[in-house]
Every structure is written in structure tokens, then in C-alpha cells.
Symmetry: C2
């Protein structure tokens, strides 16, 4: 069944956005009284379509997934790669995506287009959340500099291309109890020495991801797959 | 440095294919005596370009990655999804990819185009191997039916959408010593009951990948990431 997110509950009704209504009516060709799923405030409702709202039939039981909070800090990338990261990371359970300015990233975003970009990225996450039946939508943050990461807390890791001794598996074993993790992924060519040094100064730990040479956009999927695996019981 | 694969060694020279020469001369604009890396017979050589050959300067030491042999059995998918699987699985270390006919796959390939398709898929794997600096190229097999999987051996797993009790982590813990693993990934909508039953009859084990709902093309990356992680020391 199709799933949508609503931001407003009015009595027994959940309001649908214009974009979703276009999808429901024009793309899916649904009619009044057809059934849809609507998520509101991380709760799932079975609803019946009624004009521009979903009429709640019942609240559904949900299977909450073991909750580790994961933040990805990613470089600015070409559109196709960024879209892949946003879509796949959403499927694999990311919570926050922070696009960050990094020395070796070749992509520059025109200041006047930043707001529009972030809205577009947020929309990709929303659609992927619907498709993968999530109860929440990952947040795409504003574009950060590394300086802005000073006050972030959690287990803070840098995917390093120079680190040789400490790998992801070692570090996960060491951190038995963690509920929040922040992962910095460098651009093609890696983080600069200066950047890695700065991140270490503000509490990040460099780790290796093993011997394989992965493209930048593969790294988030690699990491999130592993955290999903680690949380299997 | 750019890496290419050669299939022929003549004395101190490694022969380059016409496609690679086009890439070297026209795309990369390289000239005679420019340096390239050439892999021949899973050995890496530093070479100097000389007409249509690489002249061997020296054999390089290589860092062989802990070798678990992984075969992916995947449904026929739309081009973009298939390409993503081929490229990313190669980066993440797959050894064999078997495209297989499955009941719920909506893609049909014209018999006359099969050979051409497989050549195209094989080429994607070759290019991804070069980019990710592998010493071998994954093999793309002919299109199989499940019947053809009868005689395959190794740890044989089905990524099941119906299995609830046994998950990937349990099974990896149980199989302490394995050097070959075969993973069957179903199409959108999953394998049919009949297909899963048949695979079990020929020695496959159904496993769950956890609670997330992933798109088909995400599953191979998820699995390969985990096997890479498991092989970290």
C-alpha cells in the first residue's frame, strides 16, 4: 500500500500536501475511499482517501527498529552521486545528513541556490522514506563547515584513507554502548591532512574501512549496512 | 595511476586491448613512455606505454585481500539498476554474478540480445575493477534458471522476505569456516513460494536481512558490505 507523510492532524483526518495529492490522484489514479497509509508524528495510520485528506480508519501497530541515531557528514558531490547517497542512506536508516564544505570537493554551490538544493535533497529523502516504509524522514541539514561540527556529540568517526591500524570493526568492539554516531566521509581524494587533524582536535577518531577502494557514494551505504548488521539480534 | 587489465604477455610487454588504447590515447591523452599500471594474471605491473603495449618496468607488491569467494544470483532488472549492482558489487569484491530468471521479475531479454547484454555487463565489471584497483575482474555468468543452481556448492543463502526467525547474523555465526558463499536475491515482490521451496530443496537456507525495506539493487551492496566488515581483522 502507498505510504505518505502528513504534518497536520485535524480531528479524525490527516492532511495531505499538494505534491502528495498530485501523486495520489494523477500518478496513482486513486479515488475517494481508496486506502492509503499515512504517517503522522511517527505513528502509522490506515486511512481512506477523502478529498484532500486521509480519514483515519485505524492506527496500525508498528515494528520500531532498534534505534541507533546515525549522522552522515558528506562532501558536496555531483547531483547523481548525491541523489544516490540520499536515497540509499534513507533506505538504510540514516537520521541526519550534513552536506559539508571540504577542501578537495570540486563542487561549488551558488549561494543563491543553496535553499533550493536543500529542499530538493529533503524531498528525495521524503520519497525514499515513503518507499521504504519508514516512520520518520531523515533530516537534511544546512551546508556546514567542519568548524560547525565542534559541538556535535556522539561517537565521532572519520573514514580515513591514511589510517592503517584502527579499523571500523575494532572501534565498534570498543564502543559497546553507543546510541549516536557521527560519520565523516571525505570527497574523492580524501580529506586533506589539515582537515583530518582539525577533526581529531575536536574529538573525531580516524578509522580505516579496510583494503577496498570505494567510490565516495559507496561509503555511506557500506557504513549504514554494517550498522544495520550490528543491530541484528 | 590509471589501471588496465591485459590478457596477453609477450616477453617484457603486456598487450592492451583496442578499447583500452582508445581510453589511454584519446580520453586520457597519454603518450609513449607515460606510466600506467597493468594487471596480468592477477599480478600488478608498473609499465610504460609503448605503441599498443605496456613495457614492464617492474612487478609491484600487492596487498591481497582476505579471500572469501562470493557469488551473487540476481534477477533481471532494468538497465540502471543492473548497472548499479554490477558497478558497486565489483567495488565491494564480488567474484561471480549470475543473472537468473525469476517468476516475479518483469524484465524479459530478447534471446538474440543475450550475448550482447552479457558482454555489456562484463564490460561494466571490467571498468569498475580498474577504478577500484582490483587484481581480478568478476565474472558475469550466462543467464541461469534456478534449476542450474543444483550443482553449485558453498554456503547457499536466500535473502527471503518471509523468513522471520533466522537472520544473516545468526547464520554467519553458525558458519565459522566458509570460503565460498552464494547469495540469491529476489526481484521486487520477492521470490515466489514455489521458488523459495525449490531452492531449499537443493540446499539453500532462507535468511532475513532485518526489518528494513530495501530496494532490490540495495541488497547486494548491503550483503557485500557486511562480508567485507566480517573479514576485517
Amino acid at each position: 500500500m502507498q505510504r505518505y507523510f502528513s504534518k497536520e492532524k485535524i480531528g479524525n483526518y490527516l492532511k495531505l500536501s499538494d505534491n502528495d495529492l498530485y501523486h495520489i490522484r494523477t500518478v496513482m489514479r486513486m479515488n475517494n475511499s481508496d486506502k492509503i497509509e499515512i504517517v503522522y508524528n511517527q505513528e502509522l495510520y490506515l486511512c481512506e482517501l477523502e478529498e484532500n485528506m486521509g480519514k483515519i480508519i485505524k492506527k496500525e501497530a508498528t515494528n520500531l527498529i532498534n534505534k541507533l541515531n546515525i549522522t552522515l557528514v558528506v562532501p558536496l558531490l555531483k547531483e547523481q552521486k548525491m541523489d544516490l547517497i540520499l536515497q540509499k542512506s534513507t533506505e538504510l536508516g540514516v537520521d541526519v545528513i550534513i552536506p559539508a564544505i571540504m577542501e578537495r570537493s570540486i563542487i561549488k554551490i551558488d549561494d543563491r541556490k543553496v535553499k533550493q538544493k536543500i529542499e530538493r535533497w529533503q524531498k528525495i529523502c521524503k520519497e525514499a522514506s515513503e518507499q521504504s516504509k519508514r516512520l520518520d524522514i531523515p533530516k537534511v541539514a544546512d551546508i556546514h563547515t567542519f568548524n560547525d561540527l565542534k559541538s556535535i556529540d556522539g561517537v565521532k568517526l572519520i573514514c580515513s584513507t591514511s589510517e592503517k591500524t584502527q579499523n571500523l570493526k575494532n572501534i565498534i568492539k570498543k564502543c559497546q554502548n553507543y546510541d549516536k554516531i557521527i560519520l565523516v566521509i571525505g570527497p574523492e581524494g580524501g580529506l586533506s591532512e589539515k582537515e583530518e587533524k582539525y577533526l581529531k582536535e575536536i574529538g573525531f577518531i580516524s578509522i580505516s574501512l579496510g583494503n577496498r577502494i570505494m567510490r565516495v557514494e559507496t561509503v555511506p551505504l557500506f557504513l549504514l549496512s554494517i550498522f544495520n548488521y550490528e543491530s541484528m539480534e
